[in-house]
């Protein structure tokens, strides 16, 4: 069921900007890496010196096409760049080379799933442009500084149709989109560094109304959580306005994280006539369909396809598969582990419970996880062949995490090998029974719980190393019933 707000529904469209992972900038040879001492990754071209000219980085075009294909877009046969004119110190030429009426790609979609329901979100276009620099405002001084390192990093803009109906859908769309960009290695998805960011167009209307309400543009939401909170706030604000008989003003609003509200941006900062016109320093691009097909063939398996394959080939529950394929690195980890230890459900359980638990406890990404998948497989093999039991395995896992040692080494040095010697276990069982006659009596009278207690006592005597199946069997033989 779609969400409503006092009889109103929300209409949300998202504009996502993502920095491409090319080595050099989009129109010059400078490094496109993040960071660096201010104004060290610059040249006369990205600084907009007099007389310099842009030359398109073909890799940036390729990455844009790659993204567009992953988002089911059509690729234009002819495309061009345009100048978007406005004055701002972080924009050295005082125009941005962008695309206006002939974007590289158009008309795609992305399927998302919210509350078990699949929704198809339309994508209007994916185009390529140049990133701006960064203004740094000094708190206690009457001046601002500009860092142009980021200027000219290739940036794609992905514009969705106003197809989302709730903050949850918007968040899901963004997460899926980010997954895809990271899957196909065109963007690192880093929201704090701003390499993946989004603006939202939001309006509300009475449920069932075919017309769109007046929209506002919400900016400055730098995390999934903030997108959700900001949209929630903005929808509520618009609904309250209308209910009070007031009108929504079309404007750009900034999300204030601290206050948890959106506020109108100062007029001066956005009231632009961008005076777009074709960039005369770059030629019309003719995109060769054969090249596009080549790029299409080089695309890796996308999250949705991988999800299906995981369910089909590994026979794991959809719930598991969805989590495992949510991140490319996580899915890769799973597959590498399964290659060495071909029991997918066992591997999946370990990843979902133990690894994801450890990651969130340590605030780590799977890429930084210290236990390689092959080592995890070694651990699972030790359980499988009876060298250690499941409980010991958890301890060994923690040890591996802390020390970086291999499972065999830990088991050997700590003497954790499981006791499967029946004679030895029988002896211990005898001892435990002798010391706990009460429990034996209770069990014989039908108290199942007492059996568990006796197993526990045996395990305690063996410091958890006894093979639980053998303990169970011998206990039952000895007590009878």
């Amino acid at each position: 069921m779609a969400r409503t707000w006092d009889g109103f529904e929300a209409v949300i469209g998202l504009e996502v900007h993502a920095q491409l992972l090319t080595r050099s900038k989009v129109f010059c040879g400078c490094s496109a890496d993040f960071g660096g001492e201010p104004n060290t990754r610059v040249c006369p071209i990205c600084l907009g010196f007099p007389g310099v000219l842009p030359v398109l980085n073909r890799k940036a075009l390729e990455f844009t096409i790659r993204t567009a294909l992953a988002l089911n877009c059509k690729i234009a046969r002819f495309s061009k760049f345009d100048r978007k004119n406005y004055f701002y110190p972080d924009l050295p030429k005082n125009y941005q080379i962008s695309q206006y009426d002939m974007p590289i790609s158009y008309d795609g979609y992305l399927d998302i799933e919210v509350d078990g329901e699949t929704r198809r979100i339309g994508i209007i276009r994916v185009h390529l442009e140049e990133e701006t620099g960064k203004n740094i405002h000094l708190a206690d001084e009457e001046k601002s500084l500009v860092d142009f390192n980021r200027t000219g990093v290739p940036l794609i803009e992905i514009v969705s149709k106003p197809d989302m109906r709730s903050p949850e859908e918007a968040k899901e769309y963004l997460m899926r989109l980010r997954d895809i960009l990271m899957y196909i290695d065109v963007c690192n998805g880093n929201m704090e560094e701003g390499s993946f960011r989004c603006d939202a167009n939001v309006s509300v209307r009475p449920v069932g109304s075919p017309e769109l309400g007046t929209k506002t543009e919400v900016k400055n939401m730098n995390s999934f959580k903030n997108v959700q909170r900001a949209l929630e706030y903005e929808i509520r604000r618009q609904v309250e306005l209308i209910k009070a008989g007031k009108k929504v003003v079309q404007e750009t609003r900034l999300w204030d994280v601290e206050a948890g509200v959106t506020r109108p941006m100062r007029t001066k900062e956005y009231a632009h006539d961008y005076r777009y016109f074709p960039e005369p320093d770059l030629v019309l691009m003719e995109i060769d369909p054969e090249w596009v097909e080549e790029i299409r063939r080089s695309l890796p398996e996308l999250p949705a396809q991988r999800l299906e394959r995981f369910i089909r080939d590994y026979n794991i529950p959809e719930y598991d598969a969805r989590i495992l394929t949510s991140r490319k690195a996580l899915a890769d980890y799973f597959e590498r582990c399964v290659q060495c230890f071909p029991k997918p459900k066992v591997v999946s359980n370990w990843i979902m419970v133990d690894i994801l638990g450890a990651l969130s406890a340590r605030g780590m990404e799977i890429e930084e996880f210290p236990i390689p998948p092959e080592r995890l497989a070694d651990l699972l093999k030790l359980v499988e062949d009876g060298t250690i039991n499941q409980r010991t395995a958890k301890d060994v896992f923690s040890e591996m995490l802390d020390t970086g040692k291999g499972p065999e080494e830990i088991v050997r040095s700590k003497g954790l090998t499981q006791i499967s010697d029946e004679g030895m276990i029988a002896e211990i069982v005898e001892k435990v029974l002798a010391e706990n006659m009460d429990a034996v009596e209770s069990y014989r009278k039908g108290k199942e719980k007492a059996f568990g207690f006796l197993v526990g006592q045996v395990m305690r005597e063996t410091r958890g190393k006894a093979n639980p199946q053998i303990v169970n069997r011998i206990l039952k033989e000895k007590i009878g019933r």
Binding site: G51, V55, P92, P280
Partner: protein, 496 residues
């Protein structure tokens, strides 16, 4: 005749025969500068030390018995909108009065390699906007033929320098006639190559889709030599054509027999100087005498060229000149309170009147609500003008026209009347809109003794045919040894 009054071709021969040194040539040029620069003001910046170093290098190579290359040792003047590493490049604007580029324009790098001693940076209309070199922050340049007249513009300094012997050859830039018109007014040869023939990298942009760098020389042979050096593909300029470049000196053939030459009827308009019209008609007759087939043709959209140009060029300029904001380099105003005041004061004080006029015109043309009526419409008319030429070149090999409707006009005469000034380019603008090559060569004099230019236009990337036609005319018409009075120590006091 002084060395500085000779052509590059003549000097190069003497140099190779070791009859003179590169230093001798440069010294002659520097002496001429000493004599006339105070009056003419062709240059914004002089670089005699650099020129001397380059000349010395040429002499060392010659002393080793090696070949320094065809134009080595030939002193050149560079228009001040061509970026020169380590040398001030001002575009004749206050806003760039102190700008020293850390890079060379591609053509400048090629000329350094070719060891053409750099004499200096020439005066121009600010940002190449103008037809008289009066719109310079550093003051006007005077015409060597008569110093109370303008040298034309915007490459007026480059044309005056070559005409007066203050340089042997020079480079200018041509957005709507800025090479050809001053060449005509100063009695020298000026060529605008096909758009894309010469790299624009390092040419400070006025209107990117129209700008083109080209040579200004004393004769057609020198033009061919300089074309050989500057033409060709440049990976730094996406709009430069990746086509082979012929040896233009091979086109120096004094023969136009059987060639079809078009004379467009739209280029003989009311208000043009009858002496100019007569000179051009005589030139046409001369071509007939040489065995060419001269026929009247029509370029029907000619009357819209000036209007179209002033929309396209100013629109691009309004964006190209946005970068001059006081943030990164160049002039920054003082006494502002916030960012926007810094922008507005800097640009208000840093740009001259004509530049501001064009920025406003272009900004207006691109504005929401006007774009379709002006910019978009202008692009469509531009296409029509281009197809006029395509059709014409189905029937003729070249088109000849006057370069300018009048010879050199008085300093101050048109500077307060922009529309009148804009009409100075009425015959040259179409070639930029169509992207085709054109040359202006001297074809006669007015009764006042001022040079008249003949324009020859050709098919895209067919500069060879133009050069051939121009060469044939020059070699048979007997004007090529004419030098302005100032080169003979006369006329410094002016006439009125």
């Amino acid at each position: 005749m002084e060395l500085c009054d000779m052509t590059a071709g003549e000097l190069s021969k003497l140099l190779r025969r070791r009859e003179i040194s590169a230093r001798d040539i440069l010294e002659s040029v520097l002496r001429r500068i000493e004599e006339v620069e105070d009056v003419l003001h062709s240059y914004i910046t002089l670089t005699p030390d650099l020129a001397m170093d380059m000349a010395a290098e040429v002499d060392r190579i010659l002393a080793r018995g090696e070949d320094p290359g065809p134009l080595a040792g030939i002193p050149i003047a560079l228009k001040d909108n061509l970026c020169t590493k380590g040398i001030k490049t001002t575009c004749a604007s206050k806003i760039l009065y102190n700008f020293v580029p850390p890079y060379d324009a591609t053509v400048v790098a090629r000329l350094r390699e070719a060891l053409t001693p750099f004499v200096g940076k020439t005066n121009m209309d600010e940002f190449a906007m103008g037809s008289s070199t009066e719109n310079s922050y550093f003051g006007p340049t005077r015409n060597p033929w008569r110093i109370d007249t303008v040298p034309g513009g915007s490459s007026g300094g480059s044309a005056a320098a070559v005409a007066s012997g203050e340089a042997i050859i020079s480079l200018g830039s041509d957005t709507g006639g800025s090479i050809r018109q001053p060449a005509a007014l100063c009695g020298v040869v000026g060529m605008k190559p096909t758009y894309g023939r010469v790299s624009r990298f390092g040419l400070v942009a006025f209107a990117s889709s129209l700008d083109q760098i080209g040579p200004i020389t004393k004769d057609v042979a020198d033009c061919a030599l300089l074309m050989n050096l500057i033409c060709g593909h440049d990976p730094m300029d996406s709009t430069s054509a990746d086509l082979p470049v012929p040896d233009y000196t091979k086109a120096l053939i004094p023969d136009v027999k059987g060639m079809r030459i078009g004379l467009p009827k739209e280029y003989f308009v009311d208000g043009m100087d009858p002496e100019v019209e007569e000179a051009v008609r005589k030139a046409a007759e001369h071509f007939e005498d040489l065995g060419a087939d001269v026929r009247e043709i029509s370029l029907p959209h000619t009357e819209y060229a000036v209007a179209t140009y002033y929309i396209v060029a100013t629109s691009e300029a309004s964006s190209n000149l946005a970068r001059y904001d006081g943030v990164k380099y160049g002039y920054r105003a003082k006494g502002w309170k916030d960012l926007y005041e810094m922008y507005t004061k800097t640009r208000q004080e840093g740009f001259g009147a004509e530049v501001k006029r064009r920025i406003m015109l272009g900004t207006f043309s691109l504005s929401a609500g006007y774009y379709d009526a002006y910019y978009l419409k202008a692009l469509k008319v531009r296409t029509l003008i281009r197809s006029d030429f395509e059709r014409a070149f189905e029937d003729v090999d070249v088109v000849i026209t006057p370069t300018s409707p009048t010879a050199a006009f008085r300093i101050g005469e048109r500077v307060d009347d922009p529309l009148k000034m804009y009409l100075s380019d009425i015959f040259t603008i179409s070639a930029n809109l169509a992207g085709i090559p054109g040359i202006s060569i001297p074809c006669g004099f007015t009764s006042d003794g001022l040079p008249i230019g003949l324009q020859i236009l050709g098919r895209p990337f067919d500069e060879e045919t133009i050069i051939r036609v121009a060469y044939a005319f020059e070699q048979t018409k007997g004007l090529k040894d004419a030098r302005p009075p100032i080169a003979q120590g006369l006329g410094k006091e002016g006439r009125s």
